[in-house]
């Protein structure tokens, strides 16, 4: 993966914090998604990825911090408004319109109201067809979506999100439930989108997909950003290893369990080299 000329920032999250009752879900999170790049957000289960996602899409309002879309503060905007301004997303649990065909799913998105006018002079028909061709779905265009295998269905959801001509695309664990071949197909589509200049935020557990497509990785653990950088580098960081694999060793607040500490540090030293 070559270091491209960085595209401009499209979506920025600054100092975002989220509290539910006494629980802190997010703390001082900073993150940027750039044009023409796939930026990944990873972290162990319970780290806060979903909360951050919801803050960005507008489902949850953060208790502190701000979210900017191309410089505009959208922290107070409703999810519908954010969608119209150009934030598109897919869902971890497929949210297709199951009574409609593939083409109709994309059509609904294309026909949705938006804040900015349509780019290009094409007709709605042509745009929809273009989306379908671009994502390789043209052959199943008339199929009802609930007859499709998951891999194809995920791509339909992707195509639908793209039909709104978004500025930034948020993908929520798109590889969930896909086999290696389908994941590869998905990766290819995602890469081509970035290559065309779209800003993509990928939240994912699938390591292969993340390593392959992302230019930067932000790692979340217990609500905080613990690492950020190029995937290869992040992957090797000890702190990331520990976040995923767990450590009973001392950290800032806890008292370590003495009996385990020696074996622990040896293992993590070896892994983190």
């Amino acid at each position: 993966m070559t270091e491209n000329q960085r595209g401009g920032p499209v979506l920025t999250v600054e100092g975002v914090g989220l509290r539910y009752g006494g629980l802190v879900a997010l703390r001082g999170v900073d993150m940027t998604v750039h044009r023409g790049h796939v930026d990944g957000l990873i972290g162990p289960n319970g780290a806060g990825k979903t909360s951050l996602f919801n803050v960005i899409t507008g489902l949850t309002r953060p208790t502190e911090g701000q979210v900017f879309l191309e410089g505009h503060d959208i922290t107070r905007h409703s999810p519908t408004r954010r969608a119209r301004l150009g934030i598109a997303r897919t869902f971890q649990r497929l949210e297709l319109f199951s009574s409609l065909t593939v083409r109709e799913n994309v059509q609904v998105a294309e026909e949705a109201p938006r804040g900015v006018g349509r780019r290009g002079a094409q007709s709605a028909e042509a745009l929809v067809t273009e989306q379908l061709e671009r994502t390789g779905l043209i052959s199943v265009a008339s199929a009802r979506v609930d007859t499709l295998p998951t891999g194809t269905a995920r791509i339909v959801e992707l195509a639908r999100a793209l039909a709104t001509e978004p500025r930034v695309l948020l993908l929520d664990e798109p590889a969930s439930g896909l086999d290696p071949q389908e994941t590869m197909a998905l990766a290819r589509v995602v890469e081509s989108l970035a290559a065309e200049g779209l800003a993509v935020l990928l939240v994912e557990h699938d390591v292969d997909l993340v390593m392959r497509t992302c230019s930067t990785l932000t790692v979340l653990d217990r609500g905080r950003v613990i690492a950020s950088g190029a995937p290869d580098a992040v992957q090797k960081m000890a702190i990331v290893q520990e976040a995923y694999l767990g450590s009973v060793a001392d950290d800032a607040n806890g008292n370590g369990d003495g009996t385990d500490a020696p074996a622990e540090s040896a293992a993590s030293n070896e892994a983190g080299r």
């Binding site: 519908t80 499709l148 197909a185």
Partner: protein, 669 residues
């Protein structure tokens, strides 16, 4: 001051009855996740059963109460849970509504058969009606004290059960986490069954108590419980103590709405005592915290393909031709029946649009139809084509007005809100002397078109059929249009709609208005069949029947509702069957609710499966073939995947939908 106390006491008594029935509703909802629309009907049956034991059979009071409330009712509850409710675990909301509404109608039907509504019946009160005691200078009847005592016992009893009995604690836990309950070794199913036994017992108790206060009338008793829904909503469908509070408030509102503090004419005209609880219910629903936006469809996803323009036009022409031909052979009265059926089919077309496509459950379409008939009768002498336009417009405006506050409501709560509106319209408008005159009716004519006044029943039938055909074509065209896609999307995934920037509220408002207008048009034509409409033509119970009928026959299909219309009209023609309408619809709804496509859809699916098998060819859409094609750019084949089944929503566990927003379970999860 004295009068104030009198009303206060009277309100407490009313509140006591509400409390008993509403808490029963809350118990069944909490333990099974199903809102029992038949709750009032069960109470009604109990009241009649009590009467049957007491009067014709002459049983003494105590054994009658014991048998009805403590033996028969719990038994019925257990059977209902076992036979119907258990299968609804995980079903979409529309199915649970359909089944319990169906049960309600079936029970109403059974009651109508067993106990002829024409006869007068009165339940002997517990004590002599004059025995009373004086509290703070207010005379409180012994009979009222019985009611208060009953409510108090229920409150204490429920408290004991839920806190002092293990089975009761289990009932409180099943709403939190039924899966966890199963992990402890308890049976969530049995817990639900017990909840239903208690709930039905309470419904029966309230029914008997209520019947000692009002006349024994099937419809009144069944619907009076609807006012108690407001108390249950006040308790968020969760908390029994709050339900009691809500019931008390409701009781006072009921009492004071008949008081001298309000001008008598207003009370009479609007039947405020009956209307006020409906309004309270509507408002309570608006203030209920709604759960998060649903991700699964309210109405199960459509399977049948949508007719193309050519097909629908051809269908319309065929219908017209059929009407022309067949009408030549029908007798005058049969012509009228057929016209009624088609007019009602137009009203049900509105349901295709609203509920079938957009998944918005409405139990008050006849109210809009009635408004349409009203407009038709009032405009330009009652026989003008402008009347039809006015019918559409007035009804559409009403639809928009109802939808406006109710935009946030989904599923069950929307159904309840429309029910409240429908009932309020019954009491305050249709039965009001201002609309149709005291026990009178409004003359509604047949619109004059192209110089023809359609006085001949045959020509009117053809006209109505033509209008139905045109409306069907229009509805199908809407489905194929951008707006139609949006409607279906709204039903399939409101959450996804939000993320696409689609304004859900606006879409809902428009579809409500459109469908109400269509219902109004149907109502205006319906009025023209017999030339007049009266107060009793558009009751909310009938709205519910139509909703279920349409569901049974196929609420997604324009032809389905046509069949439904005919079924509705033809059934009463069979001797002794008029009361069977309710029963048949109810039973039909119960069985067919399991299959979302209704009878028509089911038939079509079976036929198509049969023909493809006979023709020996593959299903036209082979998903595996598509997979191969979409993966054609890959090197590796995808053949190792398991056989494709139609996708279902990926919910591994079913949660009972709480009325409050779900709190996150772990930080950052």
């Amino acid at each position: 001051m004295h009068f104030f106390l009198v009303y206060l006491v009277s309100g407490i008594v009313a509140g006591a009855i509400y409390a008993v029935t509403a808490s029963g509703l809350v118990v069944t909802y909490n333990t099974s996740g199903v809102f029992n629309f038949a709750h009032g009907a069960i109470g009604m049956m109990a009241a009649f059963a009590y009467w049957a034991l007491r009067v014709p059979l002459g049983w003494p009071m105590i054994p009658s109460v014991v048998v009805v409330v403590f033996v028969a009712a719990p038994l019925a509850g257990a059977l209902i849970e076992r036979g119907l409710i258990r299968h609804l675990f995980g079903a979409p909301v529309a199915s649970t509504i359909g089944v319990t509404l169906g049960l309600m109608l079936a029970l109403v039907g059974v009651a109508t058969i067993l106990w002829n509504p024409g006869d007068y019946r009165a339940i002997p009160t517990f004590f002599s009606p004059t025995k009373d005691v004086s509290i703070f200078g207010v005379s409180v009847l012994y009979n009222q004290l019985v009611i208060l005592a009953a409510a108090a016992s229920v409150a204490v009893g429920l408290r004991l059960v839920f806190y002092k009995l293990r089975a009761g604690v289990a009932m409180r836990s099943v709403v939190d986490d039924p899966e966890l309950l199963a992990l402890t070794g308890a049976s969530p199913r049995r817990t639900a069954q017990r909840g239903w036994m208690i709930g039905c017992s309470l419904a029966a108790a309230a029914g008997v108590l209520l019947a000692t206060q009002v006349t024994l009338n099937i419809t009144t008793l069944t619907l009076l419980v609807v006012s108690a829904y407001a108390a249950a909503i006040f308790g968020r469908l969760r908390s029994v103590p709050l339900t009691f509070v809500g019931a008390l408030v409701l009781g006072e509102i009921y009492s004071f709405s008949q008081s001298t503090y309000i001008p008598q004419w207003f009370i009479n005209d609007t039947q405020l005592d009956k209307t006020a609880p409906m309004i309270v219910l509507f408002i309570a629903l608006l203030f209920l915290p709604q759960g998060r936006l649903r991700t699964a469809g309210q109405v199960p996803a459509m399977r049948m393909p949508v007719a193309s323009l050519r097909t629908s036009v051809v269908g319309g022409v065929v219908l017209m031709a059929g009407a022309l031909v067949i009408s030549a052979f029908l007798s005058q009265s049969n012509l009228l029946y057929a016209s009624e059926g088609v007019a009602l089919a137009i009203v049900m077309l509105s349901l295709v649009l609203l509920t079938g496509y957009a998944g918005q459950i409405s139990g008050c379409q006849l109210a809009f139809a009635g408004l349409g008939a009203f407009a038709m009768g009032k405009v330009l002498g009652g026989a003008s084509p402008l009347g039809l336009v006015a019918a559409f417009v007035l009804a559409a405006a009403a639809g928009a007005l109802v939808a406006l506050p109710a935009i946030r409501l989904q599923g069950l709560y929307l159904a309840l809100a429309t029910l409240a509106f429908g009932a309020a319209m019954d009491y305050a408008f249709f039965e009001s002397p201002n609309s149709f005159g005291y026990g009178g009716s409004l003359l509604v004519g047949r619109a004059r078109f192209f110089g023809n006044n359609f006085a001949s029943n045959r020509s009117f039938l053809v006209l109505v059929a033509a209008i139905f055909a045109v409306c069907s074509i229009a509805v199908l065209a809407i489905r194929r249009s951008r707006f139609g896609r949006r409607l279906v999307a709204l039903n399939d995934s409101p959450a996804a709609c939000v993320t696409l920037g689609i304004g859900i509220g606006r879409t809902k408002l428009i579809v409500f208005a459109l469908s109400a207008g269509l219902a109004g048009l149907g109502g205006a034509l319906y009025g023209g069949v017999s030339g007049q409409v009266s107060a009793g033509d558009f009751p909310v119970l009938l709205s519910l029947t139509l909703l279920l009928l349409a569901t049974v026959w196929g609420i997604r299909s324009t032809s389905g509702v046509l069949l439904a219309g005919f079924a509705f009209v033809l059934l009463p023609l069979i001797p002794h069957v008029s009361s069977l309408i309710y029963l048949a619809t109810g039973l039909g709804a119960i069985t067919i609710s399991r299959n979302p496509e209704g009878i028509l859809g089911e038939t079509i699916t079976r036929i198509s499966v049969l023909t493809t098998r006979l023709a020996g060819r593959n299903q036209p859409q082979n998903p595996i073939a598509f997979e191969a094609v979409s993966n054609s750019t890959e090197a590796a084949p995808a053949g190792h995947r398991a056989p494709i089944e139609p996708a279902v929503t990926i919910e591994p566990a079913v949660t009972i939908e709480p009325a409050v927003t779900i709190e996150p379970r772990a930080p950052g999860a």
